[in-house]
């Protein structure tokens, strides 16, 4: 009796298990059938805290026509580019939407890895977008990406030290010298390490001097007088004794942290807007006094280098129409506004800067207050002003070489010899354009 009973129970357990397994395997299939074709759009983008929320909303909007999957790329720019480049070069059809840093579009477009935006898609992607960011998504007069967000460096200072912000480098250096002799914090902080951050500074200075590094089509080296003057200015600043001693090794983070110290020696910080939120967390006392102004220039505020991301559709994608559709939703006004407020990335669509309508609290918010651009972006007017007068980094297929060589040749900035350094840059860039450039 006992044995048959347990045997019977064992059997029914088996049946239940098998039935369960069948249901488990069947459910996803049914769900996939429910979304009609079951098309998946794979998005590859750097990690952004709230981008998944955007993806979820766009999936809802797609209403089953396709499902967007957010694949996070590595955090560092080189790692992101490397993964995409490696897979695209191998003809991987698994990438549909690519999150491209603003400097990568020409390279990817020229390698024929990007699908051009045309017709309605193009009109939609250009709708109300600021000119500078839009320029970074174009190559050879064609649109290859839809701007997702932009970025621009500002001048940050403590209003207990600096009363009126300087508009030019001369003013800033004079003020710094004055503070130094008064025994007040005086140092000027900027990213001087041998990396992209130094190229950003140099590009800003070149644009402010009215110079050019490459021709407009990105195919010839120019390096005119403005570019040489910018080298001279960078050298003068670096040898003035007004910068931080660790400047030749300083990246964004070190620059940001230097002004956060309670007993900082710094008076001026040139950095991206994220430092505002960071100051609130690191030094709430100074955060109340942290003010901003446009990046100083030569005769007035500078043209400042813009950053950010563009979303592009891979030419190898098997679902291009859906991918374009997904891109337009992921970078649409609603998404950009949400990400500006919740992720702190500046939008590329101009009207968002003056949009005061509130949105639902951010996913990680601790209060139930409804945020708006006004509450999340006190510096939005200055950012917009800077974005309307931008410096775009040279748009060229060989940006990787340009960046590597420039940061190498300019480092350390105190040892720049304007004419010789300019010649070194000219040679290096010309070789890169001829595919003979050797990367160090």
């Amino acid at each position: 009796m006992v044995s048959t009973r347990t045997g019977g129970r064992g059997l029914s357990r088996w049946r239940a298990a098998i039935a369960g397994a069948v249901v488990l395997t069947a459910v996803p299939t049914i769900a996939a059938c429910g979304s009609e074709s079951g098309t998946t759009i794979n998005v590859y983008l750097s990690p952004e805290q709230n981008f998944q929320t955007v993806v979820d909303r766009c999936n809802e909007q797609a209403d089953g026509r396709y499902k967007i999957v957010y694949n996070k790329l590595p955090r560092d720019a080189d790692g992101q580019r490397e993964q995409m480049v490696r897979r695209l070069a191998a003809g991987d059809t698994g990438l549909d939407v690519l999150g491209l840093d603003v400097t990568w579009v020409p390279e990817f477009a020229e390698a024929k890895w990007l699908e051009e935006f045309t017709g309605e898609n193009k009109a939609d992607a250009e709708q109300g977008v600021l000119k500078g960011p839009l320029q970074t998504a174009m190559w050879n007069g064609k649109l290859y990406g839809a701007t997702k967000n932009t970025n621009v460096q500002l001048l940050w200072y403590d209003d207990r030290v600096v009363q009126t912000p300087p508009e030019t480098w001369d003013e800033m250096m004079d003020m710094s010298r004055q503070f130094k002799s008064d025994g007040k914090p005086f140092r000027i902080l900027f990213t001087g390490a041998q990396y992209e951050g130094l190229v950003v500074q140099y590009n800003t200075l070149v644009a402010s001097e009215g110079g050019e590094i490459l021709s407009e089509d990105g195919k010839k080296v120019v390096m005119d007088q403005g570019a040489v003057d910018a080298l001279k200015l960078l050298k003068d600043v670096s040898t003035s004794g007004l910068t931080d001693p660790s400047m030749p090794n300083a990246q964004e983070q070190q620059v940001q942290q230097a002004l956060e110290l309670p007993d900082t020696e710094a008076a001026f910080e040139l950095n991206w807007p994220y430092v505002y939120a960071a100051m609130g967390a690191a030094n709430p006392d100074r955060a109340k006094h942290l003010k901003w102004a446009r990046y100083p220039g030569i005769d007035g505020p500078s043209k400042a280098t813009i950053g950010g991301f563009n979303l592009a559709v891979s030419s190898l994608s098997l679902h291009k129409p859906e991918a374009f559709d997904a891109v337009l939703c992921l970078r649409g006004p609603e998404s950009q506004k949400f990400q500006a407020i919740c992720d702190g990335v500046p939008p590329t669509i101009e009207s968002i800067y003056t949009d005061d309508a509130t949105i639902e609290p951010c996913p990680a918010a601790t209060t139930t207050d409804k945020p708006s651009m006004a509450t999340a972006y006190p510096m939005r007017d200055t950012i917009l002003e800077a974005l309307k007068d931008p410096a775009v980094r040279p748009l060229t297929v060989v940006y990787q070489n340009l960046s590597t060589i420039t940061s190498k040749v300019l480092s350390p900035p105190s040892e720049i010899d304007p004419d010789a350094t300019a010649q070194e840059l000219r040679d290096g860039l010309q070789k890169a354009l001829d595919s003979k450039g050797v990367l160090p």
């Binding site: 020229e110 595919s435 160090p440």
Partner: protein, 314 residues
Amino acid sequence: MSQTVETGAPAQAEPAKKKPALSEGKRAERRLGWLLCAPAAFVMVAVTGWPIIYSVWLSLQRYDLRFPDDREFVGLSNYAAVLTDKYWWTAFGITTLITVVSVVIELVLGMLLALIMHRTLVGRGLVRTVSLIPYGIVTVVAAFSWFYAWNTDTGYLTELLGAEAPLTQQIPSLLIIILAEVWKTTPFMALLLMAGLALVPDDLLKAASMDGATAWQRFTKVMIPVMKPAILVALLFRTLDAFRVFDNIFVLTKGANDTSSVSMQTYNNLIKGLNLGIGSTMSVLIFIAVAIIAFIFIKLFGAAAPGSDSGGKR
């Protein structure tokens, strides 16, 4: 015993039969042998021969993934471009420096370690195991622990020595890279040298000391000559490995501040720069350099040169 006799017999019989006198069966057997080898030989050619030929072919072209329309045959101009480039020669110099310094240190330390391992009376197994631990750790993992140890934020070694961001300056970075290499591969050196030490007969050493040879004389006049083949194997393997150094540099400095090795630079040009022409040129040049090193070792040390198979580093 009978087994050894059986297998030994045909081997002894072989030389007796000269070339022409192959019987039908022998010939069929030999053909079968070739056929059985063929798949392996084919795979070998496919996985080693073809890539080498293909990279030589790539190195003769302007082939930049960023300019797909400009692909063309350019002869040796990529070689001219690389060999006249100062970045390449800087990397070459750095690689040579790292190779020479780390191999010399490894040889000295490895010899000491081998002697200790050879002479230990108590806990011999434990001593050998402990000294082999670094070699058992994956290079990248070890490199990361060095990286964090020398970092400014988390670095206990930086703090201990009061150094300021050593990985942002060239000389300290190179020292750290060499240290990481030495730490990691000295056990490998010691292992090979210990095999050599086992070849030194105790009687010889005893006889030498009877003749009044000091410890140092016994080491230089007796042990080293007997160990020579083992030392050469160890040196050759380590030199070839050290010349291709990549992982430690990749993790520790990413080649910043002129600490790039030739392998690092090849990677940068191939993968980051997407320049298949220049990148392949560099890999062919490394291949040639490695071949030259091997050739020099074999020529210089003649008969003592290794033809043995003591296994590679990884």
